[in-house]
């Protein structure tokens, strides 16, 4: 293997740059799910929410671009993706908070519903199959993006990357420094206590579901509108599920989520490049691409394994359990 192909700055920069970009959809979904789970709702439907965000975002961006809206179209797409996500969140909220159905069953059903509906919508919206969207141009930060190595890696990206990092900060602020964040955490730890302190458990949970699914929908839209510029069945490829695992791995903390998402972005980035490289460098003996594709899923298992331990977890104490108002045992 010709290592000089790998151990040079150009390769490293390209690797890290794409690492950051690839991490974004995942990061957004993880941030959203952190907010949701902190309030005690386990939203397993992320995969379906992201699918709906992806398809809605892509369609709106495409048709907006067709209608001549130019640079605004990707942003409209992202907005549409958020709204689609929130619609799913409303549905999940109704099922799990108001009707108090089992959250696990609701989530799994929502995934299949979201995926099925997304595919159906795509087929209805586009008669031919492989369509490309308008995409989104990069927005390098003047000055900073010229720093060697760090510049392109950190400061030469589409605006959505900066937005995602900003959202990490906002979510962290929300949870640790605002009165709303206090309510969210209280509802997730001891909903009865919040209730008797005058906090509306249902309202807090609905709100955190809407925030969570808005972010997840945005993540799906970023994937199709900004990153890949297309949509196809199964495009989410398990990112929603990986996001749920990452929430555990990040101990429900926003900054750890950033780290976890970047790590997965790196794995994704490495996987693409090894594919290309190994075909060139190894000649006859290439790593079968299926094994490279397996990488994120295997990594998720490893990450969860490392995080797992027999004993108290750091999960919000009331996670996954519906709150029956005024049932003070």
């Amino acid at each position: 293997m010709d290592w000089s192909l790998v151990l040079n700055w150009a390769f490293l920069v390209a690797l890290l740059t794409s690492c950051v970009r690839l991490a974004m959809p995942l990061l957004l979904a993880v941030l959203g799910e952190i907010v949701t789970e902190r309030s005690g709702v386990l939203n397993l439907g992320l995969e379906g929410v992201m699918a709906m965000g992806a398809v809605t975002g892509f369609m709106v961006a495409y048709y907006a671009g067709d209608a001549g809206l130019g640079a605004a179209s990707p942003w409209l797409g992202l907005l549409a993706g958020m709204i689609a996500g929130m619609a799913m969140g409303l549905l999940m909220g109704w099922l799990s908070v108001t009707l108090k159905a089992d959250q696990v069953i609701c989530g799994i059903t929502l995934v299949i519903f979201g995926q099925g509906l997304a595919n159906y919508i795509y087929r209805q919206g586009f008669r031919s199959l492989a369509v490309n969207g308008p995409g989104m141009p990069s927005l390098p930060i003047p000055g900073l993006s010229r720093i060697p190595v760090l510049g392109p890696v950190l400061f030469d990206h589409q605006p959505t990357v900066y937005l995602a990092v900003l959202l990490t900060l906002l979510v962290w602020l929300l949870l640790t420094h605002t009165t709303w964040g206090l309510k969210i955490r209280a509802v997730g730890e001891n909903p009865a206590s919040a209730d008797t302190s005058g906090v509306s458990v249902a309202r807090v949970r609905y709100a955190s579901l809407l925030i969570g699914t808005a972010l997840a929908g945005l993540g799906g839209a970023v994937l199709t509108v900004v990153q890949l510029n297309l949509f196809r069945e199964g495009i989410i490829a398990g990112r929603g599920w990986i996001a749920i695992a990452l929430v555990i791995f990040a101990s429900w903390r926003p900054w750890m989520a950033l780290g976890g998402a970047l790590f997965f972005g790196l794995a994704d980035s490495v996987q693409y490049r090894i594919q290309a490289l190994s075909q060139v460098a190894l000649g006859a003996r290439t790593i079968p691409y299926e094994f490279l594709l397996m990488l994120p899923y295997v990594l998720t298992l490893v990450a969860l394994f490392i995080r797992s331990r027999s004993g108290r977890s750091e999960a919000p104490a009331a996670l996954g359990r519906p709150y029956f108002m005024h049932r003070l045992q």
């Binding site: 099925g116 899923y297 969860l304 394994f305 027999s310």
Partner: protein, 355 residues
């Protein structure tokens, strides 16, 4: 409270049982109806006439001998998997990885067929079936052990293993097992001895019989064996089960293994009866449909049987209708999901959920 003799089944009991039956059958019926209604809305939005579409679907699913056969053939793997999932779900073990276990079972059974083609049918077929079930068990137990030993959520682990399994089988079909001299990512064709025989000159194969046989087997397992009792107890409230001396971990492992076995069995049955090869396209999301079917069937064997036929009917019908009306087949999966959602809602409205 009345002091009636406990031995007799009292009026209150009968009334309660009638009410339970009403909700058990009523809410899925109501949910299905509402789901079809919403599906009609989707059809309208696509610019077609719902009544036409639904009748085309019904005809396509059950309209004639060929159609019914097609529906039954499609329902069979879903039914097998769903019966296994039902057992796991009853213990609140959420095996979402049936799809992956299906693939591994197909691979294991298929490998036996490809590596031992000279065995007589009487030996080869059972060996394949056992290998398929074993493959499913092993794949499911990976997640099961991770749950029991390390407390890792089986929902995520089985899902990750799904993706890994499908990719692995793809690799095998494209690589080591590939048909010599062929270009497609698929294995060589199975010999005749490795193919499940068909019944009475129809296209219905032995696997369908197997699927139907599992209905009473699962029923007896859950309600007439101590193991089934313990399984249901763990699903009801695992803390109480533990206090009562039930080895909860062992029950969880059994639930995973059993559902994995049936999923793997479904996989080997399909490649042996329909595809005659190991390749990547041996499932159209059977593992996921089975989850919905298990839920829609209220986790009861007869319900699951009916739900499996219903789902298969929807898909077959959608395919037939697609030829006629150009509506995408994806409509079927959208309607299926809406139906299950509606049933969930109907269920929650009638008697809420448990702690």
């Amino acid at each position: 409270m009345t002091e009636a003799s406990p031995m007799s089944v009292t009026m209150a009991d009968r009334r309660r049982r009638r009410r339970e039956l009403a909700t058990t059958i009523g809410s899925p019926l109501l949910g299905t109806f509402v789901g079809l209604l919403i599906g009609a809305v989707l059809i309208l939005m696509a610019g077609a006439n719902p009544l036409e579409v639904y009748s085309a679907m019904a005809a396509g699913a059950f309209g004639g001998k060929r159609q019914i056969t097609e529906t039954v053939l499609r329902a069979s793997p879903i039914l097998i998997i769903a019966l296994g999932l039902m057992v796991a779900f009853r213990a609140r073990v959420w095996n979402i990885g049936a799809e992956g276990q299906y693939f591994i079972g197909a691979l294991a059974g298929g490998a036996v067929a490809l590596l031992l083609p000279d065995l007589p049918l009487i030996v080869l077929l059972p060996a394949m079936l056992i290998a398929g079930a074993a493959g499913g068990i092993l794949w499911a137990l990976v997640a099961g052990l991770l749950k029991v030993r390390r407390g890792m959520s089986e929902i995520i682990t089985t899902l990750m293993l799904n993706y890994i399994a499908v990719l692995f089988v793809q690799y095998m079909a494209r690589g080591p097992l590939q048909e010599t001299g062929g270009y497609l990512p698929q294995s060589a064709q199975f010999v005749d001895a490795a193919r499940l025989p068909q019944l009475f000159g129809t296209r219905i194969h032995l696997g369908v019989l197997l699927a139907v046989l599992f209905v009473p087997i699962v029923y007896v397992l859950l309600w007439y064996t101590p193991l089934g009792f313990r399984l249901r107890a763990v699903g009801s409230r695992s803390s109480v089960a533990r206090y009562a001396g039930i080895n909860v971990n062992r029950v969880i492992l059994f639930a995973m293994a059993f559902s994995g076995a049936l999923a793997g069995l479904a996989g080997v049955v399909e490649v042996s009866a329909i595809h005659f090869r190991v390749k990547a396209e041996i499932s159209v999301g059977y593992g996921f449909s089975a989850i919905l079917v298990a839920l829609l069937g209220r986790m009861h064997p007869v319900g699951v049987l009916v739900a499996a036929l219903f789902f298969a009917g929807l898909t077959t019908g959608a395919e037939a209708m697609h030829v006629v009306s150009k509506l995408p087949v994806a409509l079927a999966s959208a309607i299926q999901a809406v139906v299950v959602l509606s049933v969930l809602v109907a269920d929650a409205l009638t008697h809420g959920s448990r702690d």
